[in-house]
């Protein structure tokens, strides 16, 4: 009898397994077909770093070296000199070693003017590592290419079709729920 029982167990197990798997056949496949379909990543997603300029092309960065101090991986190196006319500093060199960066966005948290931002461009694989030693031109280019970026002080910003920089609507912002709920509450009061 035990043999029969075992055969029955085996048949039952195969049946259960097949039935369970069979249910999924009719579900929609979650495959995103990456290289053929462009990926829409959340705007806060940290895939790379960039250095944003103002709309008029001037530098947002005030070279305060906060990001260099905050970096846990110690990949940011900046050289600066005092502005001969006016206040502040000017950049001599602004390098981020994107190879060794751990993409923790600590530099973005530290930046007081939201100049250094996180962007969603993850397609940085390369045959040659030297292309990832980002200098200031590389970082500006990254910012010009990207449509949206994130920094904690200003939230998500987007670049419009005509090149202007705007704040993204609240449903894209972290913490945007507060703004989304606000009008509803006011309507209830009124």
């Amino acid at each position: 009898m035990s043999l029969l029982n075992e055969v029955w167990q085996a048949v039952k197990a195969i049946g259960t397994g097949m039935a369970t798997v069979h249910k999924r056949v009719y579900e929609e496949a979650p495959t995103e077909f990456y290289p053929y379909v462009e990926l829409d990543l959340p705007p806060v997603s940290v895939q790379s770093l960039a250095l944003v300029e103002n709309e008029d092309g001037t530098e947002r960065c005030i070279v305060c070296l906060q990001c260099e101090r905050a970096c846990p991986s110690q990949v940011i190196s900046i050289e600066r000199h005092r502005n001969p006319e006016g206040k502040g500093f000017l950049i001599d060199r602004f390098d981020i070693d994107l190879v060794n960066c751990m993409y923790c966005s600590a530099c973005v948290e530290a930046c007081p003017v939201s100049s250094i931002v996180t962007i969603q461009d993850f397609e940085l694989s390369t045959y040659d590592l030297h292309t990832l030693k980002a200098d200031i031109d590389f970082l500006h280019e990254q910012a010009r290419r990207s449509k949206k970026w994130y920094s904690p002080k200003l939230g998500v910003e987007i670049r419009t079709e005509d090149g202007r920089i705007e704040k993204a609507p609240p449903e894209m912002q972290p913490g945007g729920l507060a703004e989304l709920l606000k009008p509803a509450a006011e309507e209830e009061e009124s």
Binding site: A29, P30, T31, E32, F33, Y34, P35, L39, Q47, S48, P72, S73, Q74, L98, V99, N100, C101, M102, Y103, C104, F122, E123, L124, S125, T126, Y127, D128, L129, L132
Partner: protein, 184 residues
């Protein structure tokens, strides 16, 4: 080799097309080695999950280096692991390629200041494609695999990689007097 690889070769020679054909076959059936090291290994597994699904490109994991073409170094390589990694590389059959995945494998990443971490897997094995990120998202690995596919299909037909890595690591399996690589 020179004829096959050079640009001056006559286009109408049938060898050229065979060359391309073999490269096409190789580039469309890259079989990576199941060798997860650290955080990136989880993302490497996720590249083969239903969402990203690298199976679409004819890539399947092989558990033994003898059957694998591509080694994905997915994580920090330290000095203790370096010898083993090199041995796995030596065990893979030619032609073979290496993808360095993530900051640690590229240049030691955030751990490069430590005492036991190798600053870059390219000190141990020759690397074809580097992926930045910590860890790179699965699509980034897929992009790197596609880059490698382009590289394989564009390049000349190679049976053996030249010994381009010179290093002071005493981790290489040097052939002994009888020409065989010594075992542990």
């Amino acid at each position: 080799m020179g004829l096959l690889g050079s640009d001056e070769r006559p286009r109408d020679i049938i060898l050229g097309t065979l060359d391309d054909l073999i490269n096409l076959a190789r580039s469309r059936s890259m079989w990576p080695l199941t060798f997860g090291i650290a955080c990136c290994a989880i993302e490497m597994m996720a590249t083969w999950d239903p969402k990203v699904d690298a199976d679409r490109f004819g890539m399947f994991f092989r558990n033994t280096p003898r059957q694998a073409d591509v080694m994905i170094v997915s994580g920090t390589v330290n000095k203790k692991l370096a010898k083993r990694l090199r041995r796995l590389y030596d065990q893979m059959a030619e032609p073979k390629w290496v993808i360095s995945m993530g900051a640690c494998a590229n240049q030691g990443g955030p751990f490069r200041h430590g005492y036991s971490v190798v600053e870059g897997v390219d000190k141990i094995v020759p690397v074809d494609v580097y992926i930045p990120g910590c860890p790179p998202r699965p699509e980034a690995l897929l992009q790197a695999l596609l880059l490698l596919r382009d590289k394989i299909s564009d390049r000349e037909l190679r049976y053996k990689r030249p010994q381009e890595i010179a290093t002071d690591y005493d981790v290489f399996a040097e052939p002994g007097e009888d020409g065989r690589i010594p075992v542990l």
